[in-house]
């Protein structure tokens, strides 16, 4: 087998668990197979391993619950941040003044910072849940999460960074220590409450700004979006304090 062929086989084998990877690569080296036959063998084993992982419920929760549902909610909320930022930036660039939406400059800054912090936090916990639940099957929920984000506002691409960090942490630790999980959940809850509270400023400001015409407008962020984006943080806490410590059968 050529050196390049062997490098390719080694790269593919990284999808396997550490010990199995060593055993399989050793067997292939001993068998002196062609690169094509070895690649077919490794791919076959990876496919079987992936198929067996998807017989469990955890990767499905990671895919549907985290990548699609939480990812979709994060993206939807990301649109809100992107729209507000774009409005302020374009107004300032064109006219040299802030876009007047009824909020003071300080209020506007607090609203946007809370929203940005919440999006980063939700993305991290969503990534953690994907890594922890899906284990070696994470590349499918991870790819779906990436596609969901890339179909969102440009700013959502930035959210892939905390999501990737969370996924790495989830793959390594699977379950956080109870105190760390509690701190993360408390931080996410606090920032979510702040997002709801500061979101209310908008509703009030718009009501004042419109002379009462917009009274009773629904809150700017629907509850389902906040719940969908926030459930991974609650899961992270539940897994940390449950008697089974969130043990999953994934390899």
């Amino acid at each position: 087998m050529t050196r390049a062929g062997w490098r390719l086989i080694e790269a593919m084998a990284r999808c396997l668990a550490h010990e199995e990877r060593d055993a399989v690569l050793g067997d292939l080296a001993e068998a002196e197979e062609s690169a094509w036959a070895a690649a077919r063998d490794v791919l076959g084993l990876i496919a079987r391993r992936q198929a067996s992982l998807w017989r469990l419920w955890q990767p499905w929760v990671a895919l549907v619950g985290a990548a699609l549902l939480a990812g979709g909610a994060i993206r939807a909320i990301g649109w809100r941040l992107a729209a507000d930022l774009a409005m302020q930036i374009s107004t300032y660039a064109k006219y040299g003044v802030r876009f007047e939406n009824g909020l003071t400059a300080t209020q506007e800054t607090v609203v946007l910072l809370c929203l940005a912090a919440a999006l980063a936090g939700w993305s991290w916990t969503c990534g953690f849940a994907m890594g922890s639940l899906a284990g070696r099957a994470v590349w499918i929920p991870g790819a779906v999460f990436g596609v969901v984000m890339l179909n969102g506002p440009r700013i959502a691409v930035l959210l892939l960074i905390p999501a990737l960090m969370g996924t790495r942490a989830g793959l390594r630790r699977r379950v956080l220590p109870a105190d760390a999980a509690g701190a993360v959940a408390a931080a996410i809850l606090t920032i979510t409450v702040l997002v709801i509270r500061t979101g209310g400023w908008y509703a009030h400001a718009h009501e004042v700004w419109s002379g009462g015409l917009w009274r009773g407008q629904p809150p700017s962020l629907p509850a389902w979006q906040l719940l969908a984006a926030g459930w991974p943080a609650m899961w992270l806490l539940t897994a940390a304090i449950s008697p089974t410590k969130g043990k999953v059968k994934t390899t």
């Binding site: 010990e19 199995e20 060593d22 055993a23 399989v24 690569l25 050793g26 067997d27 292939l28 080296a29 001993e30 068998a31 077919r40 063998d41 490794v42 076959g44 084993l45 990876i46 496919a47 079987r48 391993r49 067996s52």
Partner: protein
């Protein structure tokens, strides 16, 4: 009841004894069946047999021939021996009197 491939794997591992590991078992099966044995089938079946308690596996020593990588050693457990014997007995019983079995016996004698 064992599956056909599970029986082949158990038998190959039992025949190899202390030298039973992935590549050697694979070669043994390929020689016996004259058919290719994929690494995927081998390792997933090994996992299944280990989960059933029919074999035990552990990581063995590394050799230069294997690029310094360890072997996954295999040992058939007492339960594995009983299951393989039961499968073999069932094959012998069900094959009694059929043409290919009598022809095979005649060729052997």
């Amino acid at each position: 009841m064992l599956g056909e491939f599970e029986y082949l794997l158990l038998t190959a591992a039992a025949r190899l004894g202390d030298d039973a590991y992935g590549a050697a078992i694979r070669e043994e099966i390929q020689e016996a069946t004259k058919r290719p044995c994929s690494i995927g089938a081998l390792y997933t079946t090994l996992d299944r047999l280990e989960a059933k308690g029919l074999v035990s596996t552990w990581m063995g020593e590394a050799t230069p021939q294997r690029g310094g990588r360890p072997k996954r050693m295999v040992r058939v457990t007492a339960k594995g021996v009983r299951e393989a014997a039961a499968f073999h007995a069932a094959v012998i019983r069900v094959s009694r009197g059929v043409s290919w079995a009598t022809e095979f016996s005649a060729r052997q004698s």
